[in-house]
């Protein structure tokens, strides 16, 4: 049972590098929180501070009601799964899983019982006598999970646990980790740079960039209402398309987006939520899937262009569309075969448009 709070936490490394800046975060007991961001943004640093492997430079890290800034890792009741698994190469699988319990002076019978249970749960019972070197990547991953599970910790930390697995295994392990969270009923903090992983697993996602939290929210909130262009671009594949233009306010709930080669009419409720004035430079965001090639052609709700590239992706196809000097990418069904050079008209789902300040990148939708 643990609630984890960061209060104005900063982390500066010995070489002066400021890896985490003014972090404020409240992780609820039994919540599954995913730290998401590009490589080098400070995710591992944040996780290591929770584990106690890195010291907090400034601010307070609080578990439940206790400040733990100076508490060593083994007293924090946390367990951790490392990206490279970090299995002890000279120990058997049994001893790898049991090590944490042995260090905590549990009785032999208790250790035996817990290790067997975890091994059965993870289907690695038959390899307990082997050594890590004799296991495949997927099996090692399970051992690493087992080592954390047997501890029955208050906080379960995972640093990119799936990134060394092949694509198929990664998807099936996602489901298992989700199940594990439901069974164990503890707080999970999970680090990844894979947006799809974050969207499937998380109760809440924390998007980070350059040591700064960009947005905290449920997967839906993050995906549907990105706080800025960084978050908007980081989630979704292919990434969100941007068109720079101007807003024209025609009335209380009537607004237009104008650009040399496209004009879009905003629906009433979006117009009302838009926090901007006429003539303001904005960046329009359209998600790749928010168009329909077979939709009704209504002026103010369409975008026209020439097909640049066609990329089939199994169930769908990606259309690259030349648009001014840029190329926009859309995801459409595959029953219509498109050819490069062909002119297309796509109906835009105008209720799902995103607007950002062209200068700051901040969302303009309340």
């Amino acid at each position: 049972m643990a609630r984890i709070r960061f209060e104005n936490v900063n982390k500066k490394y010995a070489n002066g590098f400021h890896a985490v800046k003014d972090l404020n975060l409240d992780i609820q007991d039994e919540e599954f929180v995913v730290l998401l961001g590009p490589s080098g943004c400070g995710k591992s640093t944040t996780l290591n501070m929770i584990a106690g492997l890195e010291e907090v430079t400034d601010g307070a890290l609080i578990f439940d009601d206790q400040m733990v800034n100076y508490m060593p890792p083994h007293r924090r009741d946390v367990a951790m799964v490392f990206q490279s698994y970090a299995l002890y190469p000279h120990k058997t699988i049994f001893d790898n899983i049991a090590f944490g319990l042995q260090m905590r002076k549990q009785s032999k019978e208790e250790i035996e019982r817990r290790v067997r249970n975890a091994a059965r749960r993870l289907e690695i019972e038959h390899m307990l006598d082997r050594r890590p070197g004799q296991l495949s990547g997927g099996q090692r991953q399970r051992v690493a999970l087992g080592r954390a599970m047997v501890r029955d910790p208050a906080v379960f930390l995972m640093d990119e646990p799936l990134s060394n697995l092949d694509a198929a295994l990664r998807v099936s392990m996602r489901a298992e980790i989700k199940e594990l969270h439901q069974e164990m009923q503890t707080t999970f903090v999970y680090v990844t740079h894979d947006q799809a992983e974050a969207l499937t697993l998380a109760d809440r996602i924390v998007v980070m960039s350059d040591g700064i939290v960009q947005q905290v929210g449920t997967p839906d909130e993050i995906y549907e209402h990105p706080a800025n262009t960084f978050v908007a671009s980081f989630l979704g594949s292919p990434p969100m398309n941007y068109i720079d233009g101007e807003i024209e306010i025609e009335g209380e709930d009537r607004a237009l987006f104008r650009h040399d080669s496209v004009t879009l009419r905003l629906p009433e409720n979006l117009s009302r939520k838009l926090n901007t004035d006429s003539g303001h430079r904005v960046r329009l965001g359209i998600r790749a899937e928010d168009v329909d090639e077979k939709g009704e052609v209504v002026e103010g709700q369409i975008i026209r262009g020439t097909v640049n590239s066609v990329l089939p992706v199994g169930s769908d196809q990606f259309l690259g569309m030349a648009f001014g000097d840029d190329e926009l990418f859309f995801r459409v069904g595959k029953d219509l075969r498109h050819k490069t050079g062909e002119n297309v008209t796509l109906a835009v789902d105008v209720s799902r448009l995103h607007f950002f300040d062209a200068a700051t990148g901040k969302s303009l939708v309340a």
Binding site: N48, A51, G52, L53, P72, P73, H74, V78, A79, M80, F82, Q83, S84, A86, Y88, P89, H90, K91, F99, G100, M103, R104, G133, R147, R151
Partner: protein
């Protein structure tokens, strides 16, 4: 057609090797010739000599004696004395080298100011040739003007200058000390490389698992260092059992027979007693032991963790 005919026909010597093999043989030939004359030939020739009784004091009588030179060793008391000295010298040296190198490599694996300078200074003994090392220690241990006497006298540890190498009980240890000084750097580097190759996240995992500093050392560092440790032990044993320079320059096997090790015994037998046959036989015994060790050495090197 004609190509196929050529290859299915009887292979001439010219055809047996392809162009690449032939040019390789051509380029390797000079090196092979040199190696044959300076390495292979002497090895085989001394094996041949070891079956004769050859004494240069009686150059005209060199009977073929089969294995007598080898069987004589069993009853040669001085030979067994030298074996015992060699064993003591090697065990003392190798244990000391391994322990000191372990401590120094652990120290150098820490981050602290001046680590690089210290690492560089550490390499000095390694760069000194064996003979120069021996001459240096002869000077240090000298009873009249030696640095050791000077230092201990000025610090008040001794009342009078000591004839260090004249003490039967201490000689072998003092020579081992000089040998250890020379060998520690290489051993340290070998261990340091092993230490550096231990992934940092193993220690992190162990910290989360609740292992103390000492437990992390016992459960991660030591087992991970095993290959490097084996390597150091075997290599240094090979070096120690064959070592000659220090015994030649410092003590000539003395005082009495206190530092009469095997390599010195072989030297005396061959070049002072001019008994080439039995000298060659003893060299072969030493060579076989060394071969056995180097076999172990190479197997250790080849083994994965």
């Amino acid at each position: 057609m004609s190509d196929i005919a050529t290859y299915s026909g009887r292979r001439s010597l010219r055809n047996r090797f392809g162009y690449e093999e032939r040019s390789a043989i051509f380029f390797l030939a000079p090196v092979m010739a040199v190696l044959m004359s300076v390495a292979v030939f002497p090895i085989l020739y001394s094996l041949y000599l070891s079956f004769f009784q050859i004494k240069l004091t009686r150059p005209n009588r060199t009977p073929f004696v089969w294995f007598q030179n080898y069987t004589d060793l069993f009853t040669n008391e001085l030979f067994w004395t030298s074996v015992r000295r060699t064993v003591v010298f090697s065990i003392v040296s190798v244990v000391a080298i391994a322990m000191i190198a372990l401590l120094v490599s652990l120290l150098l694996n820490q981050n602290f100011r001046g680590r690089r300078v210290l690492s560089t200074i550490l390499l000095v003994p390694w760069a000194i040739p064996y003979v120069a090392n021996a001459l240096m220690w002869k000077w240090i241990y000298d009873s009249g003007y030696g640095a050791l006497n000077g230092l201990l006298y000025q610090l008040g540890f001794i009342e009078d200058y000591v004839i260090w190498l004249g003490d039967q009980d201490k000689t072998l240890l003092l020579i081992a000390n000089a040998f250890v000084w020379k060998e520690v750097p290489l051993a340290t580097i070998l261990l340091l490389v092993t230490l550096k190759s231990i992934p940092a996240d193993l220690y992190q995992a162990a910290r989360v698992d609740g292992a103390s500093v000492w437990q992390r050392f016992v459960h991660i560092t030591l087992p991970s260092m095993k290959p490097g440790f084996m390597l150091v032990m075997i290599y240094e044993t090979m070096m120690a059992i064959r070592h000659f320079d220090l015994f030649f320059i410092l003590t000539e096997g003395g005082p009495g027979h206190a530092s009469h090790v095997l390599s010195w015994h072989i030297y005396v037998e061959t070049f002072r007693n001019l008994s080439f046959g039995s000298g060659a036989a003893m060299s072969y015994v030493l060579a076989l032991v060394t071969f056995a060790l180097s076999y172990l050495f190479i197997r250790t090197l080849g083994r994965k963790v």
